[in-house]
């Protein structure tokens, strides 16, 4: 395929940025659902206590959310431009 052919949609950079914005909007919902999952546990069906496992689960979800948020944050601030279309901060110093 001819790579120089003009793309019919957004240029790739913008597309990647929009995708990161979508992810940033979705992430809190994912986090909310994962953190609310423990309330579905039925204490009658599983009478033995699992506090240790609960601790592990909550902290695992927490760490995962932090990692994804960091990834998204870098994707957004890397290409962050203000309304006047100025280049990102780092590029000004290059």
């Amino acid at each position: 395929m001819n790579r120089n052919r003009q793309l019919p949609f957004l240029e790739k950079r913008n597309y990647v940025r929009r995708r990161a914005e979508d992810a940033a909007r979705l992430l809190p919902f994912l986090g909310g659902i994962l953190l609310l999952l423990p309330i579905l546990r039925n204490p009658i069906a599983t009478p033995e206590h699992e506090t240790g496992a609960g601790v592990l689960y909550v902290f695992a979800v927490w760490v995962m959310l932090i990692v994804i948020a960091a990834r998204i944050s870098f994707a957004l601030s890397d290409r962050q431009t203000d309304e006047k279309g100025r280049k990102p901060h780092e590029k000004e110093h290059e």
């Binding site: 914005e21 940033a24 909007r25 992430l27 809190p28 986090g31 909310g32 953190l35 609310l36 423990p38 309330i39 546990r41 204490p43 206590h49 506090t51 240790g52 609960g54 601790v55 592990l56 909550v58 902290f59 927490w62 760490v63 959310l65 932090i66 990692v67 994804i68 948020a69 960091a70 998204i72 944050s73 957004l76 601030s77 962050q80 309304e83 006047k84 901060h89």
Partner: protein, 891 residues
């Protein structure tokens, strides 16, 4: 064992160190070295004031009582921060574009600058925060008591009350010193933020150190800890779904609506990019703070005797194991958590109290308003300082009279539920354009009342306010009004019951009333700007521009911002409009910018009221507003490039218009000049001719008569020469052919010489001159004679035109960076704005020329001289009289 006195010394040294950090950061900021002060790391760390002593001591106690549930308090903020793109980013942008000073300011400003809403939110915040501040004082005094007990001094030996009192005094001192240094809240408190960022590090390190000690020092690593968790009483804990979900929601809501969080998150934010970093770094901080809470609680329950206060495990575990240094570090961590929260809360609350309660009252009491009354800046600063003292005083009083006691977590949740009542109005403000101020106010009131009735009074007031019978059977025996079982819903946890009902009724009233009422035009425009803040930063609002006198506005701004800053602001705006001088056109943009600048000092509602006083009342017609709104909507359709071009065209058009009027005026003047000059030349010529004819033709004339006629001829010839000299002088100066005699001159000598020349002995008695001799001792490189010529002219003008019964001339010298400004100010009526543009033109004489006696060339010559001396001379408006500013370069 650490003695109690040693502990006092360590905390005093720590506090001195904090003062030093804050002072150093303020110094750096004052020198403009803002680099690291604005870094995302400092921003993230400053957010950590969310973790108060409630986290530091209370989380472990909470875990010991209710297992993993403590973590919900940190999961809510985590969800908000990882979802920063939706809410926090918008709040920060609105805060920056609208120059918001507090959460009360945001709500009041969004709903048509309604001060009622500002007062409501302020009251709610103060009532909600007071127990929380008391809690911090209590936790610090408790931690002192732990050390006192250990070292054998005994609790009774230390007066807990006086400890709390001195802590409160120290906090007031710190907050007043670093929190009210600069008036403009948007200039940010770098010292305070840096100090709390440092405290954030201390508390994290302290808690991690205790955690590491517990896991690897007491237990045998992580797997051992997990085993101990499952063996401990904590394992008995069962997750209660209602509380789990409800508390996650509550902590998320409180994170957004706590005044102190709003202060660090929005008001102190200097760079939007910092929010992106905080979106993951702050959850990481929270996660690390919570990481060792359960292990510490488990080990504490094992080691400590039954009945030991689990809220203090963080301190008592290291102490009981003989780890004094660790205990000390842990004490400092708790101390940091408490103090940083109190300081920021006091700043946030005092800003709200002074802007929304004190200033409106002050404005109403001094009925003449901002234009006449004294320096507003001082009033605001004093109001803010008193409010800080009052807020902390309230906290101390609450601590003193409640006697402490209840578990830390309980007070925290009650306070959270109270401040969260702002949430529906806050979210409505930034996402719902048609939300109205009636809806917001009623929603807030309903939420507040429900919170008081179901949670605050039953738990805080004890049996005095709500009796056990009332709790059991409801007021007057009405069962469905029972405070902890509203509408007959029984069996809910009291906190969750209060959260559900207060938030539900609050939101319901807010939405319903908003749907049923109409917003006023100002609300609609503010709503559009808040909700669509990312689409357009250009704002429109309904000031009918022509009504405002730019000069009056300048006078008022000088009082609030200080003369220098105000004059600089006006000059920049005037330049942007393409106008020379100090007074810009009172366009909508200008008024809006001015109002926003003032809002940074006194809050949006007050600033609006002040500008309204001058522009002739806020009564802007709906048509006007709609016209402005339509205009904005149209402009938004253009691309930004086109917009820029339009601006440029507009500027050019305004310049052209100005030049055109000036040209027309000049042409009229030129005609007048020709008439004038022939008149001026002909009058002396006529008398010279007449008298010389008499001398020639009349034969028998006494020598006396001859001398008389000859002297008239001589006088008239002198007058002619003077006029021609002036014309010649002007011509030479205008063509730049003048030879200047530049040498080092003392300004004092020049002024002294000019005054001597201009005022003869008799006249100097009528015109009194006020000078500042000390400031005049400046050496400048200039042409002293030419400068004196300018001064003489200005002094003569004051002598001739100042129409005050006791004319007074003030000569003020002010040294700037590379120039010196000499102001000549008299106390007459001054020069009307229309004439201010003309006075420097040739042959412009404003009054009847007989009284003046000159040809109207004086100021024109002055201006040419100053141009040749590389300086300038301008008319200075807004000074209660005619005032001229002569500006000279120093080198």
């Amino acid at each position: 064992m650490i003695g109690f006195n040693a502990l006092i010394i360590v905390s005093v040294i720590y506090v001195i160190f904090l003062f030093a950090i804050a002072f150093f950061a303020d110094q750096q900021a004052a020198r403009g070295r803002l680099g690291w002060l604005q870094s995302p790391i400092v921003y993230t760390l400053s957010l950590s004031i969310y973790c108060t002593a409630w986290t530091f001591y209370g989380a472990v106690g909470y875990a010991a009582r209710s297992g993993l549930e403590f973590v919900t308090i940190y999961l809510g903020p985590t969800l908000i921060m990882i979802g920063w793109w939706g809410i926090v980013r918008k709040l920060v942008r609105i805060g920056r574009t609208q120059r918001i000073t507090s959460i009360a300011d945001l709500i009041s400003s969004r709903f048509g600058k309604s001060n009622l809403l500002g007062v409501l939110v302020t009251l709610l915040a103060v009532i909600g925060s007071t127990p929380y501040i008391a809690l911090q004082l209590q936790s610090v005094t408790l931690s002192y008591a732990v050390f006192a007990n250990e070292s054998g001094t005994g609790t009774e030996a230390i007066d807990l009350n006086s400890t709390a009192f001195w802590i409160a005094v120290g906090l007031i001192l710190f907050t007043v010193l670093f929190g009210t240094r600069n008036l403009d809240a948007n200039e940010r408190h770098h010292g305070v933020v840096t100090a709390i960022a440092f405290e954030a590090v201390v508390k994290l390190v302290a808690l991690l150190a205790v955690g590491v000690f517990v896991v690897w020092g007491v237990a045998n690593g992580p797997s051992d800890i997990l085993a101990r968790i499952d063996a401990s009483p904590i394992a008995e804990w069962d997750l209660r779904p209602g509380r789990w979900a409800g508390l996650i929601f509550l902590s998320a809501a409180a994170f957004l609506s706590l005044p102190r969080m709003f202060q660090v998150m929005v008001v102190e934010n200097a760079d939007e990019r910092a929010v992106a970093t905080a979106s993951w770094a702050f959850p990481l901080y929270l996660m690390l703070m919570s990481l060792f809470v359960v292990p510490i609680a488990v080990v504490g329950l094992e080691l400590m005797p039954k009945g030991a206060n689990p809220d203090l495990f963080v301190l008592t575990i290291p102490l009981s194991m003989g780890q004094d240094k660790l205990a000390l570090l842990s004490f400092l961590g708790g101390f940091s958590s408490a103090t940083s929260m109190v300081i920021v809360a006091a700043i946030a609350l005092s800003t709200m109290v002074s802007n929304h309660i004190v200033m409106p009252i002050w404005l109403a009491v001094t009925s003449k308003g901002a234009t006449v009354s004294g320096d507003v800046r001082q009033v605001v600063l004093i109001a803010r300082r008193c409010s800080i003292a009052a807020v902390l005083g309230l906290g101390y009083a609450y601590f003193h009279y409640s006697g402490g006691g209840s578990a830390l977590a309980a007070i925290g949740l009650i306070s959270f539920t109270g401040v969260s009542q702002v949430l529906p109005a806050l979210l409505g403000a930034i996402f719902w354009r048609r939300a109205t101020r009636h809806g917001a106010a009623l929603g807030l009131i309903v939420g507040f009342v429900v919170w008081c009735y179901t949670l605050f009074l039953p738990s805080i007031g004890g049996a005095t306010l709500i009796s056990p019978e009332m709790l059991e059977h409801g007021p007057f025996g009405i069962g469905w009004l029972r405070p902890q079982a509203l509408f007959g819903v029984v069996g809910l946890d009291p906190v969750i019951h209060a959260v559900v009902w207060s938030m539900l009724l609050n939101s319901l009233v807010f939405c319903t009333v908003s749907l049923m009422t109409f917003p006023n035009p100002l609300e609609r425009l503010q709503g559009m700007q808040f909700v669509n803040v990312f689409e357009h930063s250009a704002n429109a609002r309904g000031w009918s521009g022509n009504a405002a006198g730019a000069e009056d506005l300048l006078v008022m701004s000088q009082r609030i911002l200080g003369p220098n800053q105000a004059q600089r602001l006006f000059q920049t705006i005037a330049q942007k409009q393409g106008k020379a001088g100090l007074l810009p056109d009172p366009s909508v943009d200008f008024l809006e910018q001015l109002e926003r600048e003032l809002a940074g000092s006194v809050g949006a509602a007050t600033a609006h009221a002040m500008v309204a006083q001058i522009t002739g009342g806020a009564s802007v017609s709906v048509e006007d507003l709609m016209a402005v709104a339509d205009e904005t909507a149209q402009i938004m359709e253009y691309s930004s490039k086109l917009e820029e071009k339009t601006d440029e065209l507009e500027r050019t058009a305004r310049q052209l218009g100005e030049v055109n009027t000036k040209l027309t005026e000049l042409s009229v003047q030129k005609d007048a000049f020709l008439g004038q000059i022939s008149h001026e030349l002909r009058t002396p010529m006529t008398s010279i001719r007449a008298f010389s004819e008499i001398l020639r033709d009349v034969q028998d004339m006494t020598p006396d008569e001859q001398r008389h006629h000859a002297s008239i001829i001589h006088d008239e010839a002198l007058r002619l020469t003077r006029l021609l000299d002036d014309l010649l002088d002007l011509n030479v100066l205008e063509n730049g052919q003048v030879a200047l005699n530049i040498e080092q001159t003392n300004l004092y000598d020049v002024i002294e010489r000019s005054l001597a020349a201009a005022l003869s002995a008799v006249e100097s008695e009528t015109l009194s001159v006020v000078r500042s001799i000390d400031q005049e001792q400046i050496m400048i490189a200039t042409d002293g004679d030419r400068l004196a010529q300018v001064f003489i002219n200005l002094i003569n003008n004051a002598r001739k035109y100042c129409d005050h019964a006791e004319p007074k001339l003030e000569v003020q010298v002010c040294l700037r960076e590379n120039c010196v400004e000499i102001d000549f100010r008299d106390n007459g009526t001054g020069i009307s704005q229309a004439d201010q543009n003309l006075i420097f033109e040739k042959f412009s004489r404003l009054t009847d020329h007989h009284s003046a006696g000159g040809a109207g060339l004086g100021l024109a010559i002055c201006r040419e001289i100053m141009t040749n001396l590389k300086g300038s001379i301008d008319y200075l408006p807004g000074q209660n009289g005619a005032a001229f500013r002569v500006k000279l370069p120093l080198k």
